[in-house]
């Protein structure tokens, strides 16, 4: 999977964390949320699902429908990743078709990110 953007300014961590809080307020309707794990020097953001979203089979949908669109608007964010969200290209394309342009944003897959484990 490719990055969201090729070149980007550094991510403002405070802005990112505020946006994550916004996403969490949305996800609290499902008694779940996300938390920030790390931001790489290249703008790759890694988050972790929390609450009722932990281990949920619908994480790929939440990721592409809610998390990625929200976080990718932040300047400097080049990719977004979380465990339990990796799906096939076929499924990603199908999901993007249903979600529309927002859902078409690519997600950095765990297998292709650089560096050690998150």
């Amino acid at each position: 999977m490719t990055a969201l953007r090729a070149a980007a300014p550094p991510v403002d961590r405070a802005v990112l964390e505020r946006r994550i809080d916004d996403v969490c307020r949305l996800m609290s309707a499902h008694a779940g949320g996300i938390e920030l794990v790390e931001v790489s020097a290249t703008g790759a953001v890694r988050v972790r699902f929390t609450g009722m979203c932990v281990g949920c089979v619908l994480r790929p949908l939440t990721m592409r429908g809610t998390v990625v669109p929200a976080l990718s608007e932040i300047p400097g964010v080049t990719a977004v990743d979380a465990d339990g969200t990796r799906i096939s290209e076929e499924a990603a394309a199908r999901l993007a078709g249903y979600l529309g342009a927002q859902g078409a944003l690519p997600v950095l897959e765990p297998a292709t990110r650089s560096g050690g484990r998150g």
Binding site: V57, P110, R117
Partner: protein, 334 residues
Amino acid sequence: MIDDIFIFDCVIHVYDLSAENTIPRPEAEAGRQSMLAIGGSLRWPGYQADGPRFDKRWTVEEIYDMVFVKAPTDMAMAQVVPIFDWFEDFFAPVAAQHAMAQRYPDRVLFCGGADPVYRGVDEALHQIEYQIRDLGACSMKFYNGHTERSWRCDDEQLAYPMYERCRELGVNVVQFHKGLPFGLQPLAPLSPLDLERPARDFPDMTFIVHHLAEPFFEEAISLASRFPNVYLALSGNLNLAPIAPRLVQERLGRLLMQVGVDKLLWGSEAALAGGPAPYLRAFMDLEIPEDLRSGYGYPQVTREDKERILGRNFAELMGIDLDAKRAELSSAAP
């Protein structure tokens, strides 16, 4: 190495399946035979026809030949199997695993084993201390399922003191045989769900569940996808690739999707499951077919996935720099 991928096998055993090590009781012999049967079911048919005998006390040289000479393994962990139900000196004795690590220190790590109901908690704690401090164990293996005296991994009187002792001694990776009952052992204690509370209560420790806890695969998936400190060892599971590739593809696809590749570990179960060479080749050739990708959303397994599963993940858990180790082994090669 296979296709230039470093192989770090997270579980091999220097077994003692000899008649001499079997307690002289009919149920013990039946237990020994059930273990031999489980091993046989994981091996290639050719192994069973022409291969070595398995009902014996293996030597470290034989295991080395099977794992490192006849297969492209680079490193492995020799694990104690503290099954006392049928054996005088465990199924895979402490001394034999330690001897393997002593004999091949550049390639083999020693994983100890203890049991809190065998001779009581105090003796188990003593064994943990002895095996870590004096024998250099860098992990501990636990088998809570027994024919009569099973215990729970979330028992605060029996199990928690062992985890605490490991942690005090600097060992933060503990491992569990889950699923895969030996013969007529009760299955229920082998569910991995009794690891939920330990994983929650010891967040700084890593809990490895072996065998995908089969037949508790769903439970294993749930556990590993909810707890960041629970890893899954595909010990023996990938050996089915040449026999039932579809089953392995389904399992692997689900694991990649819901658990994540970072928490999956390769384990051969040699010697009982035979030499790992054919299973490694079958895994390298394995792909997730189009109908599973499209119909279930399972991602394709990549070369990087295979590299992580076959060695990099376990090396990171054990604090081994793979690049440095690769160079070390290369310079030591004749």
